[in-house]
């Protein structure tokens, strides 16, 4: 603590766990957008990650409410947000938006994987067969006509999913951006910035997950796919950074009452995480590396792209930190700052945060065992060839 902070501001109220929440939902939204680029906009070069993107989104979506629940003063009452919501509260929408998105995602995954599930059910025995039969919900018809129907429904669901994903994350930005009491949070740009950084982080995550799964399965990374992601990542990243910088520049230019403390916050309290990690290492360096990567050789190009993805993941995490923690360090007295050092142990410590961040990967590994998303390329080509036949 330094300067003067109000007595009720001695401790930070939204801790590390609340940094994780927008980070994790952001990864979900980003991964989903990649799947939509493939399933809705027919970017066929993304075929190798089209299905992986969906199961990645699901794995992270399952974990998304966990940091919130752990953080509640009364976690047992958490579901009240669904039963007795306050219509004027931005936060009350969470349960509904989350559930809606979960339903869309589950349906889409089911339709996309249905023929696989049926095939697994036909070829397995015992408990596995029972499990796959349950997963198939008894829909065993895999005639070309029904598959075509599945495909069309998938496109519809993915199309609904895009605004849902955008809403899920833009909305998280609104939770912060609509708090007039906090001069560092309050900006209408916040939802857009959150959405763009979400897309960026989710794409970066997917690239890394894809590379690691290829390496684990001893398969070559699809160069065209990775470079295509590289390009999309670059476009979204440049938009994201521009808006993040624009926000600070307009605050600086308008120089309202709170600007001197915001300036102090950025230069004295968040210089490493804001200028160092969020802007330099998490945005400028990846922008350069991604450009270089597209012109480099196959192996080095891939390495540089993946390195950029890793840097971006760090950068977006720092951005979440700078918003959530930074905004609370700044006292509403505009005269001081509250310090925050997360403890290692305890409900809101570093350890549970690490566990929560690791959990989606465990879930992803399990999901990938049950419904392997790898056969995408063959299946994708099948779908599109049948598309051509139908339209012809």
């Amino acid at each position: 603590m330094s300067g003067f902070v109000f007595p009720n501001e001695m401790e930070i109220n939204w801790s590390l766990l609340i940094v994780l929440y927008p980070y994790i939902t952001g990864l979900v939204a980003g991964a989903f957008i990649v799947s939509a680029l493939y399933h809705v906009f027919n970017r066929r070069q993304l075929a190798p990650v089209g299905r992986l993107a969906l199961v990645t989104a699901l794995s992270f979506l399952i974990v998304a409410p966990m940091p919130l629940l752990l953080h509640l003063g009364q976690p047992v009452r958490g579901l009240e947000i669904m039963w007795t919501p306050n219509p004027t509260s931005a936060m009350a929408g969470f349960g509904y938006i989350y559930s809606f998105y979960m339903v869309i995602l589950l349906l889409e995954i089911w339709f996309i994987f249905r023929s696989d599930i049926v095939a697994h059910a036909r070829s397995s025995r015992g408990i596995a067969r029972l499990g796959y039969t349950v997963l198939s919900l008894g829909a065993w018809d895999t005639s070309p006509r029904t598959l075509e129907q599945d495909h069309r429904l998938t496109t519809v669901l993915a199309s609904i999913g895009i605004p849902a994903a955008a809403f899920l994350h833009g909305y998280v930005g609104f939770i912060f951006g609509a708090i007039k009491a906090n001069p560092w949070w309050s900006t209408p740009l916040q939802p857009v910035i959150f959405l763009l950084s979400a897309i960026v982080s989710g794409m970066a995550l997917l690239m890394l997950v894809y590379a690691v799964t290829c390496w684990r399965r001893k398969e070559a990374v699809d160069h065209q796919c990775l470079m295509s992601l590289n390009k999309y990542l670059w476009y979204f990243l440049i938009l994201d950074v521009c808006l993040e910088v624009l926000e600070v520049i307009s605050k600086m230019y308008e120089a309202e009452e709170a600007w001197p403390v915001i300036y102090q916050l950025l230069t004295a309290y968040l210089p490493v995480t804001f200028f160092g990690l969020q802007l330099a290492l998490g945005a400028v360096v990846p922008l350069v590396l991604l450009t270089v990567a597209r012109r480099a050789g196959s192996r080095s190009g891939q390495a540089l792209t993946l390195l950029s993805a890793a840097l971006i993941l760090v950068g977006v995490f720092s951005m979440r930190w700078n918003v959530v923690i930074g905004g609370q360090m700044l006292s509403k007295s505009l005269r001081g700052f509250t310090a925050y050092h997360p403890p290692f142990l305890g409900l809101e410590g570093v350890l549970p945060a690490v566990v929560i961040l690791a959990l989606p990967f465990v879930i992803l590994a399990v999901v990938c065992r049950i419904i392997p998303p790898w056969s995408q390329k063959a299946a994708g080509e099948e779908y599109y060839s049948s598309d051509v036949e139908v339209s012809a």
Binding site: Q74, S89, K332
Partner: protein, 260 residues
């Protein structure tokens, strides 16, 4: 008797409507809550009782001596641990220096007074500012509560339903005045209620009762000979952070411009 689906639906609606009318009539003749134990006492219409008053709080910064008795009284009255940093009300000490700097302190919310204050340099003026919940007419905390656990009463006080609060702390973020906190023992949002349990019984809030100099005054703007109303009509007053659009109902007399 055979009923077609249409008849069944029509009959069902009629029956439901009849039931509704019957219960309403019974309710009017024999209002809920009028039990034998209560005898023939006229039932009170609580929605009207709620709007009988319009409470207002006046803080005169020239009178506050920074003794901190109000903070102690508040904590004791409202079950906020004395040793906790968090508090429903607090006192800030301002020292405006000759070179234009402003130094503000509020050690432990000022509950132990300001005996050990040391200021370096030449001081041009100094004063104390008691702070508490402004019971905003347009409270951002009420707007953001996801489960409507925090609400505004008919007489203009913002309260927290402890049975309902989920402890998400969004209201704490939304309050521009730092008036809210998470209760360290109950793990629900907590705030000044102007001692709602006292004022609804005709008593004064604990801090007002305790204040030895009359720096804190409290009253009902709807009362015929309201003292606070007279003050607000006769003297220039101000509120904290008026640009927030929250319309506070704690009115400050002689509020210096350095106070935020």
């Amino acid at each position: 008797m055979r009923l077609s689906r249409r008849d069944f639906l029509v009959k069902g609606v009629q029956l439901a409507a009849g039931g509704l009318v019957a219960t309403t009539v019974v309710g009017k003749v024999w209002p809920a809550g009028t039990t034998l134990a209560q005898g023939k006492e006229a039932p009170r219409d609580w929605t009207r009782v709620w709007e009988e008053h319009e409470w207002a709080f006046v803080v005169d910064t020239r009178r506050c001596i920074g003794c901190g008795r109000c903070v102690v009284a508040c904590k004791k009255e409202n079950g906020v641990p004395l040793e906790a940093e968090v508090t429903r009300t607090w006192v800030e000490q301002y020292a405006v220096m000759a070179d234009g700097r402003t130094e503000v302190i509020s050690p432990h919310g000022g509950q132990d007074g300001f005996a050990e204050t040391k200021v370096t340099g030449e001081m041009s003026k100094a004063f104390f500012v008691p702070k508490l919940c402004n019971q905003c007419e347009k409270p951002p905390c009420v707007k953001v509560c996801p489960v409507a656990a925090t609400y505004q009463t008919g007489d203009g006080v913002v309260l927290v339903d402890r049975e309902r609060c989920i402890g998400c702390r969004y209201c704490i973020q939304a309050c521009p005045y730092g008036a809210r906190f998470l209760h360290p023992e109950l793990h629900v949002a907590d705030k000044c209620t102007w001692c709602y349990h006292r004022i609804t019984k005709g008593l004064l809030p604990a801090c007002v009762q305790t204040c030895p100099t009359g720096a804190r005054q409290f009253g009902d703007l709807k009362a015929p000979d309201s003292a606070v109303k007279k003050i607000l009509e006769e003297q220039p007053s101000n509120v904290l952070k008026p640009a927030m659009g929250t319309e506070p109902q704690v009115y400050y007399l002689a509020l210096d411009r350095v106070v935020i």
